[in-house]
Amino acid sequence: MTKVLLLGRLRDVAGWRERSIDPAPATLSALRDLLTREDAALGEALAGRGVQAAVNKAVTRGDIALNPGDEIAFLPPMSGG
């Protein structure tokens, strides 16, 4: 199982904030492909400028292998203050 979290505007695009995907996709790109097949608008938003992915709360670059139980968060550009 993979836990997927959407932050910021991504949650409005998708209409959800958190879900579990079972069985767990083998890689981050497989997860992106799966989400894009289900919801093209979300897929486009995930590929948008400045959107990062975090695996188990660490930002990752490029594609990586996923393990069952991983938590993947998709993060649009951040802004505090």
Binding site: L5, L7, G8, R9, R11, D12, G50, A54, K57, A73, L75, P76, P77, M78, S79, G80, G81
Partner: protein, 152 residues
């Protein structure tokens, strides 16, 4: 603990008083308070809502604090940041720095705010009579943050 991420409203004046109390070794205390506005870019704002990612947001801000301490001759720092719904006029963020001399205190507070504006893991949504809009850093925010790269 000098980084607090909370949903509760806070009193910036009270935070500053507590931060400054008994500080006989600091010649300088600087504070910044960021406040939610009721109009941004000409559009009325009824509520500002900040989304955070618990377990990710706090360590990211703590890393900024660590870098600020390494970079400036700072004696102490306090960062308080709200998330959840925030009404116009309420404080969103509070940063206080203490140093022996003013320059380090000013610069550390300025540096921390530039980093927070462009890198703190929050996502902001404004709601008003015109609907909802997500707010991302503006180009001037990125330019402000880049100022610190020149000497690093």
């Amino acid at each position: 603990m000098t980084v607090r991420v909370q949903t509760e409203a806070f009193d910036a004046g009270a935070l500053l008083s507590r931060f400054s109390a008994g500080r006989t070794g600091s010649g300088a205390v600087v504070s910044f308070t960021g406040i939610a506005r009721d109009v941004t870019g000409g559009a009325a704002v009824a509520t500002l809502e900040l989304d955070a990612y618990p377990g990710f947001t706090e360590p990211a801000i703590e890393a900024m604090e660590t870098e600020a301490r390494a970079r400036f001759e700072m004696q102490d720092v306090l960062i308080v940041h709200r998330h959840g719904p925030i009404q116009p006029g309420e404080a969103i963020v509070f940063v206080a720095t203490a140093a022996e001399h003013r320059r380090a205190a000013f610069e550390a507070a300025d540096y921390l705010m530039d980093r927070l504006k462009t890198e703190a893991p929050f996502w902001k949504k404004e709601t008003g009579p015109d609907g909802e809009r997500w707010i991302e850093p503006r180009e001037p925010d990125y330019q402000d943050a880049k100022r610190w790269n020149r000497t690093s």
